[in-house]
């Protein structure tokens, strides 16, 4: 079993606390009308952070869905800038600068899974020593793309780690209505590679599972499906009211298994964490977020920016539309 060191675990808790606090602040920003719909990370931190720490950020790609980016601090401070730009709805929010090996938010559920397989395959074709880890939820595993991609990955033996974050709910659909399979991990049998189910709230378990899968992949032994079992502690997104369908007692029980509380208790016991450290980390997290928000809000936006990057160069039609849009904006035009 691959165990993270104490230092790594401490780092992971910093990342988890940071993610939680920042996610909650972004949630508030939505309630204040300053960002659009967002998906809070509460309850998923150990899975995301544990996985990220088991990867080599220089070589390994992460393909998120839309809950993970806030917790991918390990891939660099640019991730927070990307998150804020995306959440205020700025076009630049889709750009994660090279060489960061993360793809932007994916709204079309499960479409990133075949991307991950193709990417992993592409890495091997270029003898690039990296693996691809793709996040998706229990709900996404019902999409055709999951099965097509899983099947293809098995055939290709591509170095991809399928990380299914089973948080029990796909908006209001509980897992027992999502699949009749024994588990999501069991679906790997259809693809011809191993599937394992782990406690997603245990960073050590996550770290170990991802490390193991990574080693397998790099040794040419192919993909792994990891099902990380967690509980969604917050709403699906800011537009959701879970009190309508989540049994209160289940939520209560889940809160008692809050991954942050769990790791914090362990680290405090080991003398590696205390209230001061907690306060420091929270304060730093909020300061970083405020700075990223400010930077995002002052990111320039040309009136014709929305026409950029559709093609490498404008088609004739698009060039005329651009001229018309600029003319509409007027000289020194400001974005509408």
């Amino acid at each position: 079993m691959a165990r993270p060191t104490d230092e790594q675990r401490r780092e992971m808790l910093v990342d988890m606390v940071t993610a939680r606090v920042q996610s909650q602040r972004i949630f508030n920003l939505q309630r204040q009308g300053r960002v659009g719909t967002m998906a809070p990370v509460d309850g998923h931190e150990a899975t995301i952070v544990g996985a990220a720490h088991a990867l080599d950020t220089d070589h390994d790609w992460v393909l998120p869905q839309y809950r993970e980016p806030i917790a991918l601090r390990r891939y660099g401070p640019e991730m927070l800038e990307h998150v804020m730009l995306y959440n205020i709805g700025h076009p630049a929010g889709g750009h994660i600068p090279a060489p960061i090996r993360v793809l932007p938010y994916q709204i079309s559920l499960a479409t990133q899974i075949p991307h991950a397989v193709g990417l992993a395959w592409g890495l091997t074709l270029q003898d690039d020593p990296g693996v691809v880890l793709v996040f998706f939820g229990d709900g996404s595993s019902s999409e055709g793309d999951f099965y097509e991609a899983g099947n293809l990955a098995g055939v290709l033996g591509a170095p991809v780690i399928f990380l299914c974050v089973n948080n029990q709910w796909a908006i209001s659909t509980p897992v027992h209505l999502q699949t009749a399979a024994e588990s999501f991990a069991a679906k790997a049998a259809a693809f011809g590679f191993p599937g394992i189910q782990i406690d997603g709230n245990d960073v050590d378990a996550v770290y170990d599972a991802v490390q193991t899968a990574r080693t397998r992949a790099l040794a040419g032994k192919g993909p792994t499906l990891i099902e990380a079992v967690v509980y969604r502690l917050g709403p699906h997104t800011t537009a959701d009211d879970p009190t309508r369908y989540v049994p209160a007692e289940d939520l209560e029980a889940a809160r008692r298994s809050d991954p942050i509380k769990r790791l914090r208790t362990e680290l405090e016991t080991a003398g590696l964490w205390d209230d001061d450290v907690q306060a420091e980390v929270e304060e730093a997290a909020l300061a970083a977020l405020d700075a990223a928000l400010e930077k995002a809000r002052s990111t320039p936006l040309a009136p014709d920016a929305m026409l950029d990057h559709c093609y490498t160069t404008d088609t004739q039609r698009l060039a005329r539309q651009r001229a018309g849009l600029l003319a509409e904006a007027g000289p020194g035009g400001s974005a509408r």
Binding site: R31, T299, P300, A323, E328
Partner: protein, 420 residues
């Protein structure tokens, strides 16, 4: 000094919310993200956290009240300084209202806008020379009138041929004022039988009917002593200058039209009834005899001309008319017409006022006639003339005064040379 927190859309397309419970009171100090109020939408009940730290100034509504998105929810004194001229607007921010400076990349040079809104049709390309441009409707008209578009000059945008251009190309004179003697052997030649009334003849006929049926004509006839007029012509020729009687008549007419603007007008039917349209400019239609008959090109802003420039302008116009190089614009816009049928012979006539005008001056041939001067019959060169006028606009006294003005100037043309 105060931060205005307006009710945001917290649920993807909601437009109002009900205040369920206030969690703070005016005067209370709050910290950032502290829950301020619980609101209820048709999706969920939510607590709204404070965007700023400060002291609550005012609540935007009572519990149970419904607010619309954008209404003031709460005002908080956050200790910031008012920005002059923009007390609240920059502070109550939302994703959609940000006005962000500069450019995500080097600012474009603001290429000259080709059109004001995205992708209106491209500005018309000029005629490439191959085929004439015209709308399908115009083409249909041209086909019906057997007009070859290649022979028509287009005055629309990009050189496009318009229906009016078709009219102008076919119209020799909007209302041919008088029967014309002509040495052309085709004059009046046509085979027995029925012929469709269309093309040039059809346009002329239409215009004649319009004038005849819409304009109640009165005509006044007389002769004036052209001695000084001819004398002026001779004396100018002696010093190498050209002044024709027609040119003098043109200048005289312009002066009279400026003196009596009601004659430089016409009556038009509009949606709200008939209107007297008083023309701003004085554009003179001048009848010119050509091998193909009489045409009436237009001298625009003829009131700028003096007798010398008028002489030259008429000559140039006549030359272009005879060589067939008049443009459609040269046929349009006349506010008054002068027809010198006398140059072809003829003494009296009843010229028909073209549509869009209120009067016409016709001049017959100058000839020696017996007149009585100081009780003795002598021969004097007399210029017979007629002035036709739209009796809706021009009563007898106005006609007389108008006529008097022209006649005085023609009788003593030196008045025109000193009058400018």
């Amino acid at each position: 000094m105060s931060f205005v927190f307006r009710l945001p859309d917290i649920g993807e397309g909601l437009d109002e919310a009900e205040i369920v419970e206030w969690l703070v009171r005016p005067g209370e100090t709050v910290v950032r993200d502290q829950p301020l109020v619980e609101v209820l939408t048709d999706k969920a009940s939510s607590e709204l956290p404070s965007p700023v730290a400060g002291v609550i100034l005012a609540l935007g509504g009572a519990e149970g009240e419904r607010l619309r998105v954008g209404d003031v929810l709460i005002e908080i004194d956050d200790g910031s300084v008012d920005e002059p001229g923009a007390p609240h607007a920059p502070r109550s921010d939302s994703p959609g209202s940000a006005t962000l400076p500069a450019s995500e990349r080097p600012a474009p040079e603001h290429p000259a806008p080709e059109r004001p809104t995205p992708e209106l049709p491209a500005p018309e390309r000029p005629l490439s020379g191959a085929r004439p441009k015209a709308s399908p409707a115009t083409r249909k008209l041209a086909r019906e009138q057997s007009i070859d578009l290649a022979t028509v000059t287009g005055t629309g945008p990009g050189g496009r041929i318009t229906a009016a251009d078709l009219d102008a190309s076919t119209t020799e004179s909007p209302a041919a004022p008088a029967p014309l003697p002509s040495v052309d052997s085709t004059l009046g030649q046509i085979a027995p039988g029925r012929h469709p009334l269309r093309g040039v003849r059809g346009v002329i006929a239409r215009n004649m009917v319009q004038s005849w049926s819409e304009i109640p004509h009165i005509h006044t006839f007389d002769e004036l002593d052209a001695s000084l007029l001819l004398d002026l012509r001779t004396r100018m020729q002696d010093i190498g200058r050209q002044v024709t009687p027609l040119a003098v008549a043109i200048v005289a007419s312009c002066r009279a039209l400026r003196r009596f603007p009601l004659v430089n007008a016409c009556i038009e039917s509009g949606d709200d009834g008939d209107e007297i349209v008083v023309h701003e400019r004085v554009n003179l239609g001048v009848a010119v005899a050509t091998d193909d008959g009489l045409i009436v090109p237009v001298l625009h802003d003829a009131d700028r001309l003096d007798v010398f420039t008028a002489t030259a302008a008429v000559a140039e116009l006549a030359e272009r008319a005879r060589s067939g190089s008049l443009a459609a614009a040269d046929h349009r816009g006349a506010t008054f017409t002068v027809t010198n049928y006398g140059s072809l012979g003829g003494r009296w006539a009843t010229p028909i006022i073209p549509p869009g005008q209120a009067a016409i001056l016709g001049m017959g041939r100058i000839a020696d006639r017996p007149v009585v001067v100081d009780g003795v019959v002598v021969a004097r060169p007399l210029l017979p003339y007629v002035i036709g006028a739209d009796h809706r606009l021009v009563d007898g006294d106005l006609l007389e005064a108008f006529k008097r003005s022209i006649v005085d100037d023609l009788t003593e043309p030196l008045r025109l040379l000193v009058g400018r």
